[in-house]
Symmetry: C2
Subunit: 295 residues, 2 copies
């Protein structure tokens, strides 16, 4: 049995902040969606390890049936508390919007990383229940949405923003959303990888314009080039992991640590069943999960 | 359709840090488990909102069948990378230990918040698979373990530590583990509340020495007195929420926002079924999920 040392610490009373806000604001003008280059990551300008925390409120939400993660991000230092949801699921829209309202957030964007085949997106339903929120998906997805983003775009919410990186291969229109590489943005960076990179895995490449070669190149050029401490937040996890890092996946991903030829062989021999929801989900998701409520 | 502004940002190359470490180390001597007072939180010494980040590596892991969260915490600034697991489940021990090994951590403690009735703890199994790790539970639980902690104890891992707070009511031996209230400890603070406080809910109080009055008093005196930005990490969630805050639960918890008499009525009328795993889990969990492998 372990022995104890006795020590007293001072008592305290709680401060008044209702929600978690960790550091003073970095007030910059609110940005609209803008385009940046994501093609060249070869320069030697190292991102600093000295952190500049932000006013990010972050929640990871889980839908059990399809094992889908939905992400809520908001800038709670901004007077409007502008927020966005990444990969909402139709069945959990009420849960998500209730949380948005409880936290006093203003939902600006309901976004998808790609056209999902395993569940119906909640973005259309969200628009009908939260007027003002805009649906977002990549132009390359061939889907209908309010905002069709392209590689290099910036998606702002308050003083924070996400970069858009093209990471096709699971589908031809997959993107990864990455928090900004500036001192007032969250550190470490966070990458919302959809099905391109999963924790110790990756999305299948055998339908919806999938290509194992393209997926391999996407992950290696657009995700594995991010700082190694970048947090990986995928669209799904089936084993109960909630996050990984670029550094971990570079070393431990059982598929993407292989060379291209080996990776292609692995992906060709997965012998996965046809997705149960595919014939319902894909047509629905091409129009945000439902016909535009205003049309 | 939204219009775009075009903007170039500088390219970058990744730094060398493999895992996420956000700020410079605060090197303090390694502490052994020690005892502190958690009884008096009435003084007016406000915890500062100016943050001092730490070298905490943190993972939330999920076991789907019992909807249990297991938490991995480590001090990755310390040469040994000492780590602890809170509420590991027997079925996911291999997953958890594999992650511990991949991250290069040294598991010091495998801890329970209480004697679970819905799953078998993994702490005994962990001891047999990771020599050196010690099992931890409260003395008040009446269980067998290597370290029997009491309210006010400090559980150190490297330069970080958890405080022990007694939060009985779901069971008579329930504790909440809270990160330290010192500048070199994580900010906001994090509270691992077991089944005492769930997100927008709480554990049942109709068996294992449960008491609705005691639970109400525990949560109000030991958890709701923490700073409002303290992150709440419960042992379970059934709706896909991963975290809450003290401030949110004070305002939105549908049970614990009531007065004591209303709370007692709610808890008396839950009419929950007898837990399926109870007759297996409770006797097993009184001995860390299995007989001590050395006995």
């Amino acid at each position: 049995m372990q022995s104890f040392r006795f020590l007293r610490i001072p008592s305290f009373s709680p401060p008044n902040a209702l929600f978690f806000v960790s550091q003073p604001p970095h007030l910059l003008p609110v940005k609209s969606i803008s385009r940046i280059s994501t093609k060249n990551f070869s320069s030697q300008m190292e991102s600093s390890l000295s952190s500049s925390s932000s006013k990010l409120l972050f929640r990871q939400l889980f839908e059990k049936e399809s094992s889908t993660y939905t992400y809520l991000l908001a800038d709670v230092s901004h007077p409007d508390k502008p927020a966005l949801l990444i990969d909402p699921v139709d069945k959990t829209v009420d849960r998500d919007l209730n949380l948005v309202r409880e936290l006093g957030l203003k939902l600006v964007y309901a976004m998808n990383t790609h056209v999902h085949a395993d569940h119906v997106t909640g973005t259309g339903l969200i628009k009908s229940k939260f007027p003002g929120a805009k649906s977002v998906i990549s132009r390359a997805s061939g889907s209908k949405a309010d905002v069709l983003i392209e590689p290099g775009d910036r998606i702002p919410f308050g003083d924070l923003f996400l970069e858009v990186r093209a990471t096709p291969g699971h589908t031809s229109g997959c993107v990864t959303y990455v928090t900004g590489d500036e001192p007032d943005q969250p550190h470490p960076r966070m990458a919302f990888t959809g099905d391109a990179l999963l924790i110790r895995g990756c999305g299948r490449t055998d339908f919806q314009g999938g290509s194992s070669k393209q997926l391999y190149e996407s992950v290696h050029s657009q995700i594995f080039t991010l700082p190694k401490d970048t947090l990986i937040y995928p669209a799904h996890d089936y084993k109960g992991f909630n996050v990984s890092t670029v550094g971990e996946e570079i070393v431990y991903n059982p598929r993407l640590t292989k060379n291209l030829e080996e990776f292609k062989k692995i992906m060709e021999n997965l012998n996965l069943p046809y997705p149960k929801m595919m014939d319902i989900a894909v047509p629905a998701n091409l129009v945000c999960g439902l016909q535009d409520p205003t049309s």
